[in-house]
Amino acid sequence: MTTLEVEALSAGPNRQRTPVPRPPTPQAETVLTVDGLTVGTARADLVIDVSIEVRAGETLCLVGESGCGKSLTCLAAMGLTPEPLTRKAGQISFLGDDLSRLNENQLADIRGRDMAMIFQDAMAALNPVRRVGMQIAEVLVVHRGLTWRQAEKQAIDLLASVEIADPQSRAKAYPHQLSGGMCQRVMIAMALACRPKLLIADEATTALDVTTQAQILKLMRELQAETGAAMIFVTHDLGVVAEIADRVAVMYSGRVVENAVVDDLFEGPQHPYTRGLMACRLHAASESHGRIAAIEGTVPSPARRPEGCSFRLRCPHAAEQCIEPPALRPVRGGHWAACHFAGDFA
């Protein structure tokens, strides 16, 4: 991992928080800042007070169990909060612009050109009745003003760059004629078409087999190094995190509960939930046959979170004061955790 970029700090919690410490060294440009984001319906909050930040060339991994709000955070960052949900609080700024100040047309100009997203299920995310080459070319026609002929040609080059064999004929294929892995590559090619400054990959590799996953990760890293894009990479695979992340934000039940540079996180996780995740991973790795250890219990539903720390009912360290919600606070430089006992764990 390159050290300079890794030192980039993510934003901490919101409103009544301590100010985000800035390191003295000059930094790469901040691409996206999400500050105190809360997304939900009138009845329940699904994403609560999430603050993250990514800089050019940096990769932030979002990890957490299913349903903890990773995808919603990503969608909100694109200004695509799905109905009937709304952004109830918080600010998202992209390259210095407050997204909520932009109208739908201005957002459309940014999306696909400066910020792009790769979706969880690539096959479903591609239009089934349009040829994939056309779907890639479209981005170039709309944002770069190319003619269709030029754009289709460039689409073929893009397909080649994501290592699709025989790109000419693949460009003419429909999504159902391609494998899941190939659709994923098409999505990546589409997302990278305009060399965006921010790439959001929502479980881009989860559905793929191990070999394809490794290839695609490698490819994304190379392309990122080439374009210097900031990347948010959603996954619940800690192996992938170790491979690709510079910084990690761990989410639990709608909140960021820990946020640290990847090495710090793996060396000394400070939130019991993160520690649980790590333990699962070690168990899974060591006892290949035995039962995979998991954190006891299940994630509370957004409408019925326990009072205080929402991890309280599953936490092995839960104590009396956990009835009070713990704030996300710095443990040491650039390492934040939302637990009353953060910093006490070895």
Partner: protein, 312 residues
């Protein structure tokens, strides 16, 4: 599209035709004697018998049927009882008028149905949506003869702006075409709306937004091509039934097409003419169905693969 698939469709189409023709043939023969209908009550039995023999009605039903089918296959649909000309010739004279009415009605159905349906889906839950759905229910539940009469009352009698009967000028086309179009547009609008709504919620529509496409492009290039697939089926079926619907509308507006002719021919027991019209109507339905199937494969690239898989 593979040859086997086309052959299967064609065979099914021919069977449908045969069924329709047979059904009408039997119903017509058991429901009354054409000779008795045509000739005065006091006609001498000898003359009646002569007519019966001339029209082939003296033979047994199975024999009549076999002869009819045999000559029909050779293109001979018999002579009109009234007109003493080949029934096909008599009917074909009127076909252009029905096509004109049917296609004008169809064009109105397509334009009004699609625009209403798409607008309702895009403006879901708003006044536009409610108005569109009210219109759809109106079109769907209103019997066509009733709407036809209503149109005449309003436009021909109250406001006196449009002619209500006959087919002499283009003005005469407006009321029957609009009646026919509106009745079918309701169903098409409802179908288009639900098809669009389903498509608008698909992940690829979110992708289109994430790509930075503006609304018009998302709707035209991404939503409509997908929503069109089921709508085309409904449109195809409508096109077929428009001809059938034209029968009623033609009667009310005295539009000189095959619909009006059919009603008259049934009344006069002109069996060859009735049979010819039924055959033509059934043929259009079968043909439109066939065309819809072909279009389907062209609109939805997944179909061919699916069919190939099923065959294996």
């Amino acid at each position: 599209m593979r040859l086997q698939f086309i052959l299967a469709k064609l065979t099914r189409g021919c069977l449908t035709l045969l069924l329709a023709v047979t059904f009408v043939f039997i119903v017509l023969r058991v429901s009354g004697d054409p000779v008795a209908m045509m000739l005065p009550d006091d006609t001498p039995p000898a003359i009646v018998a002569e007519y019966r023999a001339a029209w082939g009605l003296d033979r047994s039903l199975p024999e009549q049927y076999v002869r009819y089918i045999w000559s029909a296959v050779q293109g001979d649909l018999g002579y009109s009882f009234r007109d003493d000309r080949p029934a096909l010739e008599v009917v074909l004279e009127r076909v252009p008028m029905t096509l004109l009415l049917g296609l004008s009605g169809f064009a109105i159905t397509v334009v009004v149905g699609l625009v209403t349906g798409i607008a309702a889906a895009l403006k879901r839950g708003t006044g536009i949506d409610h108005a569109a759905m009210a219109f759809s229910i109106f079109g769907h539940s209103m019997p066509n003869f009733f709407l036809a009469i209503l149109m005449i009352l309003l436009f021909s009698m109250m406001w006196r702006v449009l002619p209500s009967s006959g087919g002499a000028t283009w003005w005469h086309l407006i009321l029957p075409a609009v009646t026919l179009g509106i009745i079918n547009a309701g169903t098409v609008a409802r179908f288009t709306r639900s098809s669009m709504l389903e498509v608008l919620h698909q992940p690829y529509m979110r992708t289109a937004r994430a790509k930075g496409l503006k609304l018009t492009r998302r709707v035209v290039a991404h939503a409509i091509p997908n929503a069109a697939i089921p709508v085309v089926t409904v449109l195809g079926l409508r096109l077929g039934s428009l001809i059938a619907g034209a029968v009623v509308v033609e009667t009310v507006f005295a539009w000189p097409g095959i619909g009006l002719m059919l009603v008259n021919a049934v009344g006069q027991r002109d069996l060859p003419v009735v049979q010819t019209i039924v055959l033509l109507v059934a043929l259009t339905m079968v043909l439109t169905n066939f065309i819809v199937d072909l279009t389907y494969g062209w609109l939805d690239p997944r179909i061919e693969t699916r069919e190939a898989k099923e065959d294996r």
